[in-house]
Symmetry: C2
Subunit: 352 residues, 2 copies
C-alpha cells in the first residue's frame, strides 16, 4: 500500500466548498485500491491574515514541502488589500516551490454550451510559465501619491526559465496526436523577452522534430480563441499572457466553473524523488459573491484532482475522474444542483 500525503489549502470563499467535494471524489477514485490519502489542512488565506497578519510563514512552507502534493481551493477576499494574499501567499507558493509549469487544459465537453456559436472541437492545453515574467514582483514605485509618481513593473525572463518550460511544452505536444505547439508572445513590441522566447522555441524544436511550431502575437491569439479555437493544440506562453489566455479559454469552454489547473514542478533529485510538491487548483477565484451558498461548481476542482492523480502516477484513477466529469457534463443540461450534490454525483460516478 502507498499513502499520499496531501496538503490541503482550502482558502477563502468558495474555496472551502469546492475542496470538500474535490476530496470526496479523490477518496472515491482511490477506494478499493492500495493507495490511501492522508490530508493535512493548512489554515491560510484571508481569515489567518486578518487574525495574525501572516500570509505564509517559513514554518508553513516547511510543513507544506513535506507533502506529495497540494490541493488548493481559492485565495482572496475583498476585505484584504489587493495583492497581499496574491503576492504573499498564492504566488509565493508558486514561486518558492518553483512551479514553473502552470498547466491549464481546455476542452469543450459534449453537452457543454459556451458563448461561441460555432466553436468546433476544442481540446488544447496552455503551458503557462509560472515563475518569471511580469509576475516576479520586481516592480517598484517612487514618489507615491504625488503628481510625480512613477510605478514600474519589471518582466524578468531567463534562458534557464524559458527553456525548461518550453521543453516541457514540446514534450507534451509530442505526446499528443496533433503534435502542434503555438508560441504566444508579443515579440514585435517586447523585443528582448519575445526574442528570447522565440529563439528558445526554435532551438528546442531541434530536439522535437515531429512537433510543428507556429507563433501568434498575444492579441492575435485572442482573436483565434474566439474564431477558431480548434487551431490550438499546445500553447506555450509567459506568465501574464498565460493568465489572460486561460481565462478566455475557460470562458469559451463553458466557464471558469470547469477550468482546472496544475502548478507543476517536474524536477526530481538524484534518487528520483520530486524536489517539491506540485499544486492543483481550479482557475477560478474565491467568488465572494456566491460564497457560503452552495452554488459553486466543484467541477474545476474535481478536474484538478484528476490532474493531481495523473501527476502522482495514477493515470487510471485520473481517467476515471475525467470520465465521470465528462458523463456528468453530458447529462447535466439545465439542472441546478448544489455544490455538494455535484460532488456527490461525481463521486458516485467515479465509484462506478
Amino acid at each position: 500500500t502507498r499513502s499520499i500525503d496531501l496538503a490541503v489549502i482550502a482558502g477563502d470563499g468558495i474555496g472551502t466548498e469546492v475542496v470538500e467535494q474535490g476530496l470526496l471524489v479523490l477518496e472515491a477514485a482511490l477506494a478499493g485500491s492500495d493507495v490511501t490519502v492522508a490530508t493535512r489542512d493548512f489554515d491560510l488565506g484571508a481569515r489567518r491574515w486578518q487574525a495574525t497578519g501572516e500570509t505564509l510563514t517559513d514554518a508553513d512552507l516547511q510543513a507544506i514541502r513535506g507533502h506529495d502534493a497540494i490541493l488548493l481551493g481559492a485565495i482572496g477576499d475583498p476585505q484584504v488589500p489587493s495583492g497581499v494574499l496574491e503576492r504573499g501567499l498564492l504566488l509565493k507558493l508558486r514561486f518558492t516551490l518553483d512551479h514553473y509549469v502552470n498547466l491549464r487544459p481546455s476542452r469543450l465537453y459534449p453537452g457543454v454550451t459556451g458563448p461561441l456559436a460555432d466553436p468546433g472541437e476544442v481540446d488544447f492545453v496552455v503551458v503557462r510559465e509560472g515563475t518569471e515574467g511580469p509576475y516576479v514582483g520586481n516592480g517598484g514605485a517612487l514618489r507615491v501619491g504625488t503628481p510625480q509618481e512613477i510605478a514600474n513593473e519589471v518582466s524578468v525572463n531567463t534562458a534557464f526559465g524559458v527553456e525548461r518550460v518550453v521543453r516541457d511544452a514540446f514534450a507534451r505536444a509530442a505526446a499528443r496526436p496533433r503534435r502542434k505547439l503555438t508560441l504566444v508572445h508579443k515579440h514585435n513590441v517586447l523585443v528582448h523577452a519575445g526574442h528570447l522566447w522565440r529563439r528558445t522555441v526554435e532551438a528546442v524544436n531541434a530536439d522535437f522534430p515531429d512537433v510543428t511550431v507556429d507563433y501568434l502575437h498575444v492579441d492575435a491569439a485572442t482573436i483565434f480563441m474566439v474564431t477558431n479555437p480548434s487551431r490550438f493544440d499546445v500553447i506555450v506562453t509567459d506568465n501574464l499572457f498565460g493568465d489572460i489566455l486561460t481565462d478566455l479559454a475557460a470562458a469559451i469552454t463553458g466557464g471558469i466553473g470547469l477550468a482546472a489547473s496544475a502548478n507543476i514542478n517536474p524536477d526530481r533529485d538524484a534518487s528520483g524523488a520530486s524536489v517539491a510538491p506540485s499544486m492543483f487548483e481550479p482557475v477560478h477565484g474565491s467568488a465572494p459573491d456566491i460564497a457560503g451558498q452552495g452554488k459553486a461548481d466543484p467541477t474545476a476542482t474535481v478536474l484538478s484532482v484528476a490532474m493531481l492523480l495523473e501527476h502522482l502516477g495514477l493515470p487510471d484513477q485520473a481517467t476515471r475522474v475525467e470520465a465521470a466529469v465528462a458523463a456528468d457534463l453530458t447529462e447535466r443540461g439545465g439542472r441546478v444542483r448544489s455544490t455538494a450534490e455535484v460532488g456527490k454525483d461525481l463521486a458516485a460516478r467515479v465509484a462506478g
Copy 2:
C-alpha cells in the same frame, strides 16, 4: 474655405489598398463643402527600410508634424525583422507625437455576425493608454544567446501619464448615455502600476461624479468580453492590456476588418492649436497573406476616417461616413466584393 493637410502613410501590404479607399471616402464626405484636403504621401515602412535602412528620420517626423492629421494604413512585413518597424516607425510615431489616447470603439453593427451565439447589444470604446506601460521600450537583455541570458521588459507608468488618459476616458464616459467607466488592469499582481491606475481613477472620479466606475482584472475582462460584452461602455486600460482587449473586441464585433482606431494627442497650445497631429489607422496589420489581391476590407480604414473627421471638428461628415458604413454592413450579407468595390460603394453612399 478650410484646407486639411493630411499626412498619408499607406505603409505595407494591404495598407496601401485600404488607404486608397479611405481617401476616396474622405473626398466624398467633403465634396460640396468648403473643406478641402491636401494629402502628402510619406514613403515609410518595409520598402523604405529595405532600400535605405531608415525607419523614420527626424526629417520625416518634422514634415509629418506640420500636418493636421495622419492617415496610416498598416506597417509590417515578414522580410523585416520583428520589432524594427514596430518600434522604429509605428510606436515611434505614437510616442513622439505623444498620442496618449489610443481610442478604439467596438460596435456590433446590425447585419454583422460575430462568433458569439448571443452577443446582445455591443457598443463600447476602449481608451488605451498610448505612451507608457510595457510599450516604452525600456527593456534590455544580458548575455544574449547564452544559457545565462536574462531579458527584461520594463513597464513604466507615471501619475502624469495615467491621469491624463484617465481624465480623457472619464470625459468620454460622461458624454455617453450610460456614463460607465471600467478600469481594466491586474492590480493584484502588478501592484505598483495597478495601484497607481486605481488611485488615479478614484481621484479623477471626484471630477466626474455622474460616471459610474467599476474594475476588472484583465483576465476577467476577457471572460466578460465573450459572455457579456454589453456590460462595457468605456474601458480605460494600459497600453498592453488595451492592445489585447481591442483585438478580442474586434473579433467579437465582426473582425479586424471592421475595427477602427485613433491615436490622439488632445493637447492644445495657448493659441488653441493642436500641439501634434493625431493619427488614424485600422487596428489590423499589413496582412501579407492577402496583400495585393484586392481582398482586404477597407471598412476599418473608412471608420478611422470617420474618427479623423470627428477629431478635426467635422462631426456631420463623420456621422455621414459612419452611417454609410452602417448601411453597407446591414445590406452586405455574404456578398464578396473587392477592396475597391467596397470603397466605391461606401463613397457612393456618403455622396448620397
